[in-house]
Symmetry: C2
Subunit: 153 residues, 2 copies
């Protein structure tokens, strides 16, 4: 685990906030190279699957020339939802590092542990709480501003 990749994921999350997207960022790393990086674009793209992790995994597959992302590590600022955890199983990533836990939809340890479930054909161990405070803060600030804006209107 290298914190610099979570810092990069955080930078992507902050870009998302500037674009009025729920600020989550993800980075895929292989052999010390960033092969995929993205922020959530659900509103911008009008795409229910355009979470940061899905976009970063798809970009990594493009970079590496195939859907198998073996030896790839994922850094994401928020604990993955079932869709994104499932995509990490399907792409066979090596490790998952996340920042803030997600009590509402987190499937890498909070509500369930999909990527460590022995019944699937691939498992990816998870470490949560990487730069947790900073990752939680970018989300908290975003929703606080949203509420303030709403209260003013």
């Amino acid at each position: 685990m290298e914190e610099k990749y979570m810092e990069l994921a955080l930078a992507w999350a902050r870009k998302a906030a500037d674009l009025d997207e729920v600020p989550v960022g993800a980075v895929v790393v292989r052999d010390g190279q960033v092969v995929g990086e993205a922020h959530n674009r659900r509103e911008l793209d009008g795409d229910p699957t355009a979470h940061a992790e899905i976009l970063a995994l798809r970009q990594a597959a493009k970079t590496l020339g195939g859907w198998r992302l073996m030896d790839c590590d994922v850094y994401v600022t928020l604990e993955p939802c079932p869709m994104c955890a499932g995509a990490m199983i399907n792409s066979r990533v090596r490790h998952i590092y996340y920042g803030a836990a997600d009590p509402k939809a987190g499937c890498c340890g909070t509500l369930m542990s999909l990527t460590e479930d022995e019944r699937f054909n691939h498992r990816a161990p998870v470490v949560g709480g990487v730069l947790e405070e900073a990752c939680a803060k970018v989300l908290k600030d975003f929703f606080r501003k949203k509420r303030e804006k709403k209260d003013r209107s």
Copy 2:
């Protein structure tokens, strides 16, 4: 539930088999209109997320002009994996109809029931076993041919 939409999903699955893709097809329907339809393209696109359901949901979002797929029903020939079940939660689809159960990765009743889990912010009821025999057969035939080809080489 209308079987004709599963017939259409099956036609997509058969197209996938012809292209040497694991034959799974999916159709998204709203108000009697097909708004998304696709087959699995994981190998063709080199994309770990290019399952039939994800592609059909993305197409539906494009057709409908937004990520919320409320009032949309999904017909898919194989029970959805965690990624696809998660995408159905995220896109807030109404009903899920699948053909063959998936003992290895099925998350709409077999290994777990993600879309009916009360902890998530959306639930979509599931009916499995729609045109089950035909849906299972297209997969069985595909893998049998694969094995025969392998045995000959």
